[in-house]
Amino acid sequence: MESLGVLMLDPMDDYLKQELGRRFQLLRLWDAPPDRHDDFLRANAESIRAVVTGGGSGADAALIDALPGLEIIASYSVGVDRVDLPRCRERGIRVTNTPGVLTDDVADLAVGLAIAALRRIPQADRYLRAGQWKDNGDYPLTTRFSGKRVGIIGLGRIGLAIAKRGEGFDCPVSYYQRRDLAHANYTYYPTVVELARNSDVLVVACSLNEQSRRIVDREVIEALGPRGVLVNIGRGGHVDEPELVSALVDGRLGGAGLDVYADEPDVPEALMALDNVVLAPHMGSGSLETRTAMADLVLGNLEAHVLKKPLLTPVV
């Protein structure tokens, strides 16, 4: 393999880091202190032909413009909302992501968060560990997950995987997206508000872009209502977070299972005080098996690029 100069933006995964180091000329942005990043980029700009980034880091115009030799950005994520795609198109820079391999894990976590939120599993675990189990006569009853109406925003790969799991629990499934897929088993709603109004559990499973930013706003949250549960395994940017927090505190929204937040890794203090939310630290794709598969996809895309073969999973 020729010595492709690859810039990795953050450590993200040991296996990926090792393999990049083994197969390419790896430069690690975090070797320079944060206030020296610009110098680091300037010093190495000529040799950097590829960037490996994560869902959170992305690649903005400033970074792209600092690398005149950049040919490809490989994201270790399926979401590329933080990569300046128009800039990449202008420059003829290819962009790849990691779809498919993480679909099951993300869908598993979405349903796991829904059950955890409705059945209050982490809360019960904390209750028990705090020594509060006497005869649980006063522990509040939770609500059944099976049969709950599941509404999915975005019926792509992940949305479909969530729908399939919902069917295993006899949950009626409905969805919103721009296009009605006329799916045999799932009901289409032309607006998110109508979807929310007709759902007990609302799951965000679409990609983040200009149209879907803050797609879960106050109106949607209130339509979901005091017994509704929001599950977000998309991006923090999909939800009006201050509105979400306020609705949960007030009881205008019943509960939430969250894997993503507006400003990770910071989770609003007000959420931490609540008992009707389950808070996960952005681990939707967080299994060893899946992260290895994601890393292999990043490596495979870079190798295809070097060999001038079709990229495996191009976005641009």
Partner: protein
Amino acid sequence: MASHAVDAAASGESPTLLLIRRSDAALAAALRQRYRVLDSFASGEPLPAFLAAAAAAAAPDPPRAAVIVSSSVVRVDAALLDAFPSLRCVVNTGAGVEHVDLGECARRGVAVANSGAVYSVDVADHAVGLLVAVLRRVSEAERFVRRGLWPVQGDYPLGSKLGGKRVGIIGMGRIGSLIATRLQAFGCVIYYNSRRPKDSVSYKYFPHVLDLATESDVLIVACALNKETRHIVNKDILDALGKDGIIINIGRGAHIDEAELVRALNDGRTAGAGLDVFENEPEVSAELLSMNNVVLTHHMAVFTLESKSDMCDHTIANLEAFFSGKPLLTPVLPK
């Protein structure tokens, strides 16, 4: 005195019902609408005093049926049946009937009912919830977030994927089947053990739990508790399951040799566990309470609003069947 426990408004022609409970006012209220209820909780008396008073004041219409809510406080045995010779039906609101002498009831022609399938769905959902929480580290990661550690320590360590995991279910009754359907949708491979293979399912059957454990990544206990299934998960089974193995228990604490499980978890010979039941509830060993790779819930798998409502309807349906001379909906027979 039993008279405090009788709802005067309903004491007309409604049949008399003996109700033994420590909670569940909603059920008691629903029963009072249909029956003349001798209510142990409403009497305010300790149970033996209540039973004695209820037996003494039973005439002119002694109770032909009893509803047992708190299975832990009363045994339905010869002594109880002697005290209430009018009893011909005992309806238990729970699934288990370990507290009922089925042989004695059969000898006296007393029909016994349990909750049937009322709780099955919620228990199955809870089992799946526990498994996802264990494999994907949901509960421990939640503690991590709430302690403010995410900004400090970075991303949480990786969990393990559900898809492709071989899940061995001990017991393929209603609960086992519901668990199987759900986990198949997650891409798990389902194996099972039960006394006899079930024609209604196509999952791979293992006549011996040891072989099931050897071939599985996860074991889920979903069978009834009896002499044969006490400590069905013991050291041999844990060893066969192996160091990457996960145990989920939504049966009874006594299904698992808990001390052995704790040792195995401590030693890293078992990877993790999701437990809703324990051998000595509400006591849970301090060692379990300090482990990160276990998810612990306080015997709550059945307690949802929906199952409470379903149980109430189901109890009344069994009573109505009995009082109208029909067979019980969910009779329990001696083995």
